[in-house]
Amino acid sequence: MAAQLVLLPTPSDAQVAERRRVFEERRENVYLIIPAVASLPGVGLFVGVVSSFSNMGGTGIDAAVTVAESVEGSDISAKALAVREIPLFIPGLSLEYQVADIKLGNFTTFLPGRNSPNFTIPFTGEFDVQVLAPSLRLFERRLNLTYRLAFFEGFSVTDDGTEVQQASHGASGSLLLDFTDDVIDPRRGFRIGYTTSLTAPEKSLLGRNSEPVDLLGEDKDIKVENYTLTFYFPFSEQLTLAWHNFYSVASGNEGSDQVVSGAAIPLRGYPGNRWRDRFGVFTGLEARYTLPLNQEIDFLLMHGLLEGIQFALFYEVGQVNPDDGSALYDDLRNSYGVGIRALVEAIVLRLDVATSEEGPQFHLTIDQPF
C-alpha cells in the first residue's frame, strides 16, 4: 500500500480523468432522511426533516424535500421541494424544478460592500421561491449547459432600507466543463465553470413581476459574471486535496456612488451573502480523507450503500472590492473549519463547521461544496 502512495500531485493528475462511475447508472431508490432540531436567533425553535432521494423508481429523477415547523408558539414554517434530472425529449436534456414556501420570524441580511459592518438588517422572512432550470449534459456530463429561471415573491429590503413586498424574476446561464473522475465526489481532475446573469422576463409560467424597485444589492442594470476553476489532487486512494478558485465581476452602472454587488464570495465561516461588491475573489483548499465502509444500510432514515465517511479540513480566503486593483487582494477575509460527509452513492450528506472573525457557522446540506 505504501508503494502506491502518491506524495505529490503531478501534472497528469490535472488531465482529463476517467470516470470512476457513470452517474446515469446509479442505483434506484437510494435515500437519506435527516431529522433536525434548531434554534435560530430571532426565529425560535423548530423541528424539521431534510431528505434526499436518488433515482426514484429507476426513473433517473432525484428529489430533495425539506419541511420544518415551529414549536412553542413561534411562527415558523418552511417547505421546500427540489426535483432534479427530470428527463426531457432528447438524451442529455433534463429539467430541475425547485419550489420553497418560507415563513420565519425574521430573515437577516448585511449591507453589500467591502466595508460592510458586522451588523444584521432584519426583514420579514415570508417568501416563495420557484426555480426552473433546464440543462443539457453531454459526453458523460463533461459538458454541462444550464439556463436557470428564478421567481421570488415576498418581503425584501430596498437599497434605501425600506422593507417591501416584491415579486421578481432572475435568470442566469452557466457552462461547466467537468474533467474529473466523478460527478458527485470528485477525487482527481479539474473543472472550469462560467456563469452569467441574463435578462429576466417580466412574466413567465412561474409568475408576474410587481412594480420594479431596486432591492438591496440587486441592481437590474447590472450584469454579474462568475468564473470558477477547481482542481482535485489525489495524494492517495483515500486522500484528496481540492483547490477551488472563484472570481466574480459585476459590470454596469460604472461611476455610481452606490455599492454595486456581484456574487457573494462563498466563505463558509461567514453567513451566506455576507461579502459582496463589484469584484470578488476567493480561493479555498480542502483536504478530504475518505474512510471506506461499503456497508448496505437499510433502516428508517437511510437506504443505500454507505460507501464511506469522509473527513474534511478546509481553509479559505477571499475579498471583495469596488474595483479590481491591488486592494482586492489586500486584507483578505479568511475562514477555516472541519467537515464530515456521509457518501451514500449519489448523495453526499455534508456537515461543515467553519469559523471566522465573526464567529462560527454550521452547514448541514447535500452535495460537496466544490
Binding site: I34, P35, A36, V37, A38, S39, L40, P41, G42, F110, L111, G113, N115, S116, P117, F119, T120, I121, P122, F123, T124, V157, D160, G161, T162, E163, V164, L216, L293, Q295, I297, F299, L301, M302, L306, I309, I340, A342, L349, L351, V353, F362, L364
Partner: protein
C-alpha cells in the same frame, strides 16, 4: 461502534448542531425612563407636533420643550419625508443637540439598522449598541447608538400606523447627551392616534 450506530450519531450531531445560535441580547434598558442630565423639560413651554403619512393623514404626535429646542426646519433644504429638525444653542447645558424627525415605511428595526449600517460603512461611525425599548405610552422603538470621534448619534425608530413610522435621528457632542431628560421627554411623548 457499529456502522448503524455511527450513522445515528452523525445524523443526531448534525441535527443538533445545525442552526445553533444565541439570541442577540439587547444592551439597552427595556424602557426609556426619564433619562438623566441636562435641564428638566418645561411642560408650560410644550409645543405639540403632528406626524402624517405621505397622504397627509395624521398618524401620531409628540411634544417638545419650546424653551429648550428651536425649530430650525425652515433653515434646511427640503427633504422628502423630513418632518422637523430641532436644535439647541451650544451655550445651553446639555446642548449642541440636534433631533431630526423623518418618516419611513416598513419595519422600525429594518429602517434604523439599515441606516446605522450605512453610517458605519460609508461615514466611519462605530455601532455601539442596539435594542428594543418602550416609551411611557407603550410604543416599541428600535434604538441604535453610534459614535464617531467622541460625538454621539442615536437612531430611534417606531412604527406608528400601517407600516408608516417615525425615525428620530439625534446627534450630540457626546453619546451621553442623547440620554438626557429633554431627549427622553420627547421620546416618551410620542404617541399614535
Amino acid at each position: 461502534m457499529g456502522v448503524r450506530r455511527a450513522v445515528w450519531v452523525i445524523l443526531l450531531a448534525g441535527a443538533l448542531l445545525t442552526g445553533c445560535g444565541k439570541e442577540e441580547d439587547s444592551e439597552l434598558p427595556e424602557t426609556f425612563g426619564p433619562g438623566s442630565g441636562g435641564p428638566q423639560a418645561n411642560s408650560a413651554a410644550g409645543v405639540t407636533f403632528e406626524f402624517t403619512n405621505a397622504a397627509g393623514t395624521p398618524i401620531g404626535a409628540m411634544t417638545y420643550d419650546g424653551s429648550f429646542f428651536a425649530d430650525v426646519t425652515a433653515t434646511l433644504p427640503t427633504t422628502n419625508g423630513l418632518f422637523l429638525v430641532l436644535s439647541t444653542p451650544p451655550a445651553l447645558t446639555g446642548a449642541g443637540l440636534t433631533l431630526r424627525f423623518l418618516r419611513f415605511t416598513g419595519r422600525a428595526d429594518t429602517a434604523c439598522r439599515f441606516r446605522a449600517a450605512v453610517l458605519a460603512r460609508d461615514q466611519g461611525y462605530t455601532i455601539l449598541q442596539s435594542g428594543d425599548r418602550l416609551n411611557s405610552r407603550g410604543l416599541e422603538f428600535h434604538q441604535v447608538d453610534l459614535a464617531r470621534g467622541g460625538a454621539g448619534l442615536s437612531l430611534f425608530c417606531v412604527s406608528l400606523r400601517e407600516r408608516v413610522g417615525l425615525m428620530v435621528r439625534g446627534e450630540a457632542p457626546s453619546p451621553a447627551t442623547l440620554g438626557n431628560l429633554q431627549v427622553h421627554a420627547v421620546l416618551n411623548s410620542i404617541g399614535t392616534f
